[in-house]
Subunit: 472 residues, 2 copies
């Protein structure tokens, strides 16, 4: 794909490239599902820097023209085969006319897309009325509190609510002083990284969180990817590596769903003790255990080496940027030394609202409601996956908790399968996208996020998936 | 001050130390205004690590028992000479009884403290009703938008509102794509640091922002403090240093209040161009220029080397954690490369509320209202400072804009002056607390933040200040 850079005029190259591709999409030269050249290839073809291409692609992704699929590349979005808005008469050109138009179109199209790769929650679960009422009350009754700058580690009232919640739901009550509130797990992981020596190795599970992986890799620390089996992360790989921080999800591995076994827990704690390393325990999905006994977090039996982390993004909404971690004493001292003069990172009003939402019992009720909804939804979806047409083509893997499970295809699949689904507006991520290294195990396995799809949508998606495999 | 560490039992040392000092304060053994030993001295006296002391002190500061004054040390808070709450009959010990009690007491006492060192806004300026109404409307009408995860650099709608605001108020319209929204200036400075090479030097003004200084120093980059004169930062000191980022406040120097001269502006831009360095232009106080023509930001005439930064903490409330910066193209490309996969750092609801607050014209009206309030207040306070008793003891320095000015004592002052004021509940910071290096110039100069004091309070404070100098 070669563009005539002579024509760019005064524009920066990235902007010219972005506009050229955008125009090709709008004119229909590039069609839904078409694959774009890799950033490297595009850079070579046009004799420009790869970062310039990356930038143009990023802009196109942001505006919804194209999509990025890890390890597969960039594709024209499925909901884009449309003609740009035309007006009559002359009028002032809006800043970004097509963007506005596409957004509208995307909203319409979004409802017809079945997204099995999205960890979001359905709109109807958010407690809009309660949230609004609490915020309003705080803005009218607690005016003095509302306008105070929040402490860097979070407001005392929120930290105390969180401690109380953990006591009743996770069986341990941390010292509220050592709870650190921040706008998301990534922010908190970043804070953790700054508390380590610069030569400390950092590690995470493979498969696991790609975004945390990127953050670790970009931090300048040596980064390790530790393989996972059905008992959790394989702790024997940790010895002698110089790793000083490992990010794990013992209660419900992301995205495999397995629970870290008791012996692995003992062994990872022994390792941490011996190496003076830290375990960042991400307890992200523990609220959605539908059957059996709750799995206690490692943090509930070790206070010295485990950083407990959780977030409200998964249970309330990803739009609420509030997560927290409980620091062991040694890290807490380092944190205070380094951060005590900084400003808070979450707005006072949202902290007060959430604190009141938790301590007035609304959070508990909300969780019960959502848990019941998901439990029913999961049962219905499992029935479809285990009994219907889908079971001819796929095996289901998962322990029945959390918001994800794995489907393993009984026949061989390649990239074209997921592309094919995408063209039919079913979004499904292969397990390989969560892997840091090539993995035999990941082949023919797919991760299903069922949080934001209804039973009917899943039924439809299942049908599309089966058809796509039959056609092959 | 020696404590019997044998008595600590199972408690961590820092906790024992914290409790011991707290008890001494509550029992009256330590009195308001008493100076505590330095962290180093306390550590030596008790044979413990300095970090342990730092940690105990930090806890006491957080809970309001003591105060930290830079370069002077730690003092028992002025509003603390009280007897702890006593109840009748046995009851369950609350988690932190004294803390709760003190908070109450502090609220009462707070009203009698006149704080000239606080950059906060008075409670009555925050637009509680409008904010509440907008948030409520968004929570009821834009439900779909409300629960979407925000883009890492901020919502498009907020970025466009900010671009429009800058166009009308600061005379330049940045590309909204290159605006990055984050929870505070410190967060954004941290982001900037991660975009630099690890061997890049970083610099800031002396005197200047101590907190940004701490952040720069803690980042691992080589950190320089560049002296300031009445024309702004002395740019000749920049050459050949390896500095790649300098944080400056050209429109209104913090805290001196001077404006960077045209020739210094030209010279800092030439330097940045030559060294391929970045200028982070903090335009924090530009909304509060009461007289004369507005000072255009450097960013309005250079797009390639200047990062424009501003915040809503100063104009709305420090409790709203929303600041922004406009990245030049090259830094923007680096930012997207590094951050595009991360989650947003400011809640969607607050971003939507602020966007609507700006684009529906409320922000403009709010600024006009607050500007008028401060203009009147400033005039009244300047009258007191220039004409009354205060003018016998102090000279006033300041260009009449922004929320701070300098008072220079006509007689020599030492530490005991500020301590004396503190005991009489007047909080005033010497200029030396904003200096990174020893400075002759800073001697006998004090920084007055008048944003949160009334005319009457200032009159009272002026009287206390004069009396304190007479007594000497």
């Amino acid at each position: 794909m070669i563009f005539n850079l002579q024509k760019k005029g005064d524009k920066p190259i990235y902007e010219y490239l972005y506009e050229s591709i955008r125009n090709d999409i709008i004119s229909g030269k590039l069609k839904s599902g078409d694959k774009l050249p890799s950033r490297r290839q595009m850079a070579l073809d046009n004799g420009i820097a790869e970062i310039t291409v990356a930038n143009a692609y990023a802009q196109l992704v942001t505006e919804g023209y194209i999509e990025s699929r890890e390890k597969s590349g960039y594709f024209v979005s499925p909901d884009i085969d449309i003609i740009p808005e035309t007006g009559t008469g002359a009028r002032k050109e809006p800043t970004c006319p097509v963007k506005r138009y596409l957004c509208k179109k995307k909203d319409q199209a979004a409802s017809s897309v079945i997204n099995l790769s999205n960890s979001g929650l359905p709109e109807e679960t958010f407690p809009f009325d309660t949230w609004s009422k609490l915020a309003r009350r705080i803005l009218s009754e607690d005016r003095g509190e509302c306008i105070k700058a929040p402490e860097v580690r979070g407001l005392a009232t929120l930290r105390e609510s969180i401690a109380g919640y953990l006591e009743s739901s996770r069986g341990f009550r941390p010292d509220p002083e050592r709870i650190i509130v921040g706008p998301g797990s990534e922010y908190l992981c970043n804070v953790l990284l700054t508390l380590l020596d610069s030569d400390a190795g950092v590690a995470l599970e493979d498969p696991g969180y790609r975004n945390i992986g990127r953050l670790f890799e970009g931090s300048g620390h040596k980064c390790f990817h530790i393989p996972v089996d059905e008992n959790g992360v394989i702790t024997s790989s940790l010895k002698g590596t110089g790793i000083k921080l490992i990010h794990v999800s013992p209660s419900h591995h992301f995205p495999l769903g397995c629970v870290m076994s008791a012996s692995r827990r003992a062994s990872i704690l022994a390792w941490a003790e011996e190496e003076k390393a830290w375990i960042a325990e991400d307890d992200y999905d523990s609220e959605f255990r539908f059957e059996g006994r709750p799995v206690p977090p490692i943090a509930s039996y070790d206070h010295a080496r485990v950083v407990y982390m959780n977030t409200f993004s998964r249970t309330l909404s990803p739009s609420i940027r509030i997560a927290y971690m409980v620091l062991p004493e040694e890290l807490y001292a380092k944190y205070m030394e380094k951060f005590m003069y900084q400003s808070g990172s979450v707005s006072t009003l949202e902290q007060l609202t959430l604190a009141s939402f938790i301590s007035d019992g609304f959070y508990e009720r909300h969780l019960n409601r959502v848990r019941n909804l998901y439990k029913k939804r999961k049962k219905a979806i499992f029935d479809i996956a285990l009994e219907g047409e889908l079971s001819e083509y796929f095996e289901l893997e998962g322990d029945g908790s959390g918001m994800t499970f794995i489907l393993k295809s009984r026949v061989h699949t390649d990239e074209s399968f997921v592309d094919n689904l995408r063209k039919q507006r079913v979004m499904l991520k292969p397990l390989s996208e969560y892997c840091f290294n090539e993995s035999e195990f990941a082949k023919d396995r797919f991760v299903v996020n069922f949080g934001s799809v209804t039973e009917e949508q899943f039924k439809k998606a299942a049908h599309v998936m089966c058809k796509a495999l039959r056609v092959k």
